[in-house]
Point group: C2
Chain length 346, copies 2
């Protein structure tokens, strides 16, 4: 492990809620955490799809970048140096040691995040992402590329925000093999189904979730299990060495479920929930997504959680990991945690 660069130059591709929160916290607690470890962070570039981009080798003024972004204005005025026309140009040119890939996900292709990660890794930058796409569609090749380049490719934020899952399995379970897993990983369907238990119809529950702003623009992404399928692939690829893609997932959504069914399940001591499972099979890892009747009192449906996962291992039996309320702070923390790991060579 070579000593980390000083300063550590950070480039952000994507500057939505997670990127902005990360930048804010870098000016406060995250900056303190890094400095306490001898790391001096400097954000040298931020690129967005629709609000311009800016590079400054001496470090961007984060407070100004944040106020421009919050006002919906372009970052272009902060740019110094030769003009860069595209995000691809930005990734090729930004003077950086670590690139954060935090663009919005296209769950059907994993793009453009995969291309971004490839370009940055080819340049020899560490890549940290909170994006499921590159992990669900291309983890194996991206990790191999990172290894050849002697850099890190980490993605703790891809599932359950910053709750340690991938780093836990990689660093705290030496020699143990993950035989399978089951998880409750899509909070939108959990929310909708729990409202249906309380007497709402499926349509009312969906409208409420949309009004609260917790669904994707296209609600089928959640309801038909695509989000859960993508997460299942991320976990299977990272924890079980699989190379499975979302279209290969046996997937059933919750669209056909009625309020009456959710209530009947509850009366019989169960909660209907969208569960992701993976098992090892002769021809590889099988990932499935579908509604299940989970006994009330089961770990996966315990109260107050935004996600829960049980790993079945050979040497250590079952280990459960549970996230309390998850949000943008938790996803931003995943970026910090991975940043420390790639710099310290963990």
């Amino acid at each position: 492990v070579s000593p980390p660069p000083d300063p550590v130059r950070l480039a952000l591709v994507g500057f939505g809620s997670v990127g902005r929160r990360f930048a804010e916290l870098l000016g406060g607690p995250y900056g303190r955490v890094l400095r306490a470890r001898g790391l001096r962070p400097r954000v040298t570039g931020i690129a967005t799809a629709r609000h311009g981009l800016a590079v400054d080798p001496e470090g961007l003024p984060l407070a100004r970048a944040l106020s421009l972004a919050r006002a919906g204005r372009t970052l272009d005025p902060l740019h110094r140096g030769p003009r860069l026309r595209t995000i691809a140009d930005f990734i090729r040119r930004v003077p950086a040691d670590v690139l954060f890939e935090i663009t919005p996900l296209d769950p059907r292709t994993g793009q453009p995040a995969i291309r971004h990660a490839q370009m940055a890794l080819r340049r020899g930058l560490h890549v940290v992402t909170a994006n499921k796409g590159p992990v669900a569609f291309a983890r194996r090749s991206l990790r191999a590329l990172a290894r050849r380049q002697g850099v890190g490719f980490l993605h703790e934020g891809a599932v359950m925000d910053g709750t340690p899952i991938f780093n836990l399995a990689e660093r705290c379970l030496p020699g143990a093999r993950v035989l399978g897993f089951r998880g409750l990983l899509n909070s939108t369907t959990t929310r909708i189904l729990s409202r249906m238990e309380q007497g709402r119809s499926a349509e009312e529950a969906l409208r409420e979730a949309q009004a609260a702003g917790v669904t994707e623009a296209d609600p089928r992404h959640d309801l038909e299990g695509w989000d859960a399928a993508v997460k299942g692939c991320v976990l299977a690829n990272a924890l079980m060495g699989a190379d499975v893609r979302p279209p290969q997932v046996r997937r059933k959504g919750i669209s056909g479920i009625t309020g009456a069914q959710a209530q009947a399940a509850l009366r019989s001591g169960h909660r209907l929930r969208l569960i992701v499972r993976a098992v090892r099979a002769p021809r590889g890892v099988l990932v499935s997504v579908g509604p299940e009747k989970v006994p009330v009192g089961d770990f996966l449906v315990s109260a107050g959680s935004d996600g829960a996962l049980v790993l079945a291992t050979d040497l250590m039996g079952e280990i459960g990991i549970w996230e309390g309320a998850g949000g943008v702070d938790q996803t931003a923390y995943a970026l910090l945690s991975d940043l420390v790991a790639v710099l310290e060579g963990a």
Copy 2:
């Protein structure tokens, strides 16, 4: 980090169920895990309080040691070299790189495990323990001693068997501060209280647990919350930087609880359980143990678990860790996991 010794010489102090299981698995999967990492284990010594001790610099015959131990016979015939009279002699002389402290615990003092760990660390051996005593009573001084000697002192098995708690907090939550925790950590009281919910009296439930062999010789150790208090100190000392001892824990056991109370709690949607809590207070970390009415559906009382812990952190919110059925295999795994960590300098 210097390269690990080859072979890695292991000494076991204590050869009860955990030590024997570790030795068995070293001949199988654990050996494979270690060799895959370039580590060649050799058990050079085993010492017990009542069944003799044996040292062989060339490696003890583990199958023979196991059959002697299972038959309740002394290990002395396996010994080669000058006679060693005591465990202290053994710790001073055994040719080893790593010492496993896995003797029975005296929950009131933490001895003799603390002395064993001190002697081994002073000699410059790594120390791995599954023993709560040294961590509850002397973690700070033992870690300082280990640091001065340039070796590791790890204790993943002290709470929740091999479920990663300490290694998780140390390696996967960089910069996050643990503000407090709550846990269900004593499986004997959980078992007794759940039988009381089903209609047993407190006395019947205790007798059943004793008949099943899951209580300590002195059942007050569990019932009066001593075991939970010791675990609370282990967690507070290791995760919150505290230096608190079991007598300082605000402790209330379950002895006063009747079957009727457990059943009334359940009718109101709660489970009475012995809960361990810690919070930061102006004068340090406060640890408490006592029965609480926990809502059915809460993470801590979810089904099928031998232990559950929620960490409240500043930067990452709440993280829960849950162990499925825990037993000797899980505790043995803690030894393997810590062994890898001390050798690889994690």
